[in-house]
């Protein structure tokens, strides 16, 4: 059990660093999801299943979906502007 905890702590440190160093927001959103899953595993190993359950759904489902949808919105916005190069925001 001790080894499992230590291993998860190391993986979390690596994962958090990877999230910070990743420059592409799309990949960053996916990495945050994986990081959240690792954090949930750590909570579970530390015998806090209630917190682990919340952590899984919030950090691997709720937050990445919000980031991805925001990215999609920004991309759609950029596409619209490209279609009407003279127009800008409104006509």
């Amino acid at each position: 059990m001790k080894e499992l905890q230590a291993g998860l702590f190391v993986l979390l440190a690596v994962g958090a660093t990877a999230v910070v160093l990743m420059r592409d927001p799309l990949r960053q959103a996916l990495l945050v999801g994986i990081y959240g899953l690792l954090l949930a595993l750590l909570f579970f190993v530390l015998q806090a299943p209630d917190v682990a359950l919340s952590q899984i759904v919030v950090c691997t489902v709720a937050v990445p979906v919000m980031i991805l949808l925001t990215l999609a919105k920004i991309r759609g916005h950029a596409d619209d502007e490209r279609k009407t190069p003279s127009g800008g925001d409104r006509e």
């Binding site: 299943p49 209630d50 682990a52 359950l53 919340s54 759904v57 919030v58 489902v61 709720a62 979906v65 919000m66 949808l69 925001t70 999609a72 919105k73 759609g76 916005h77 619209d80 925001d89 409104r90 006509e91």
Partner: protein, 250 residues
């Protein structure tokens, strides 16, 4: 400010931070040391007092139910604020659905992936109801079950497209679910005043520990919070999806 001065400033700051961090870490209790008298007390008396086998849920929905009321309204207000912020602006308009029906699903999702995703929706709804209703018995409860239920609707979007999800969960229905969940939890608190004289006092019979219908008002609170959380998260994602897929600048 040239690079050398900047580097020097950084080194001084970093050294200070490192010293403070080392000092703080040296004073921490050892790993796993626990000093919470209240938690140990709850752990000892919870089954006898509240007939609840999950102490965390008993604290959330009974001993500290008032805190949960505050947290619930934090979620409620923040989602309402987000819905106001992401509403359709005057310079925006909704694209008619038939014109862009293909864009309402993820491009590149294969038939197999979509079938598998939709296959998972049913089990996820069952899991959500299970976690919601068994809050007093096993880890989980209203918040966890509620967000699992919301994830089931998100799978409908991933597998079936956004219009299917919107048909299953129209905004008015989702808002109603969120509001009635929040109101239901408040009413359980008021029920404490009416039937037992204290706000959020557990006023129902406790039953046999370990049975589904035990622990008094705790399962009811759990279901109410579950409904509110499902509504809140579906509303939140719907607002984001509206913005990403349907609302466009003119």
């Amino acid at each position: 400010m040239n690079g050398r001065v900047r580097l020097g400033l950084f080194c001084v700051g970093a050294a200070g931070l490192a010293a403070l961090l080392a000092w703080g870490l040296a004073g921490l209790p050892s790993f796993g040391a626990f000093n919470g008298a209240y938690a140990l007390l709850i752990d000892r008396v919870v089954v006898a007092q509240r007939h609840t086998t999950d102490a965390v849920t008993a604290v959330n929905f009974d001993y500290r139910a008032l805190d949960t009321l505050g947290e619930e309204f934090i979620l409620f207000t923040s989602v309402v604020g987000l819905a106001v912020l992401l509403r359709e602006q005057r310079s925006e308009h909704e694209r008619p659905p038939e014109q862009t029906s293909e864009e309402h699903r993820f491009q590149g999702t294969s038939y197999v992936l979509r079938a598998l995703t939709l296959l998972l929706v049913g089990p996820l709804v069952v899991l959500a109801l299970y976690v919601d209703s068994h809050g007093a018995l096993t880890p989980g409860g209203g918040f966890q079950g509620g967000i699992v239920g919301a994830a089931a609707l998100l799978l409908v979007f991933l597998g079936g497209g956004y219009l299917t999800m919107r048909r299953l969960s129209p905004h008015s229905l989702v808002e109603l679910a969120e509001a009635s969940g929040a109101a239901g939890y408040g009413l359980i608190g008021l029920g404490g005043i009416v039937f037992a004289g204290v706000f959020f006092k557990n006023f129902l019979g406790f039953g046999t520990p370990g049975e589904l219908l035990s622990a008094g008002t705790i399962p009811l609170s759990s279901m109410a919070v579950g409904l509110e959380v499902t509504g809140a998260f579906v509303l939140l994602w719907s607002e984001f999806l509206d913005q990403a897929l349907i609302v466009r600048h003119q």
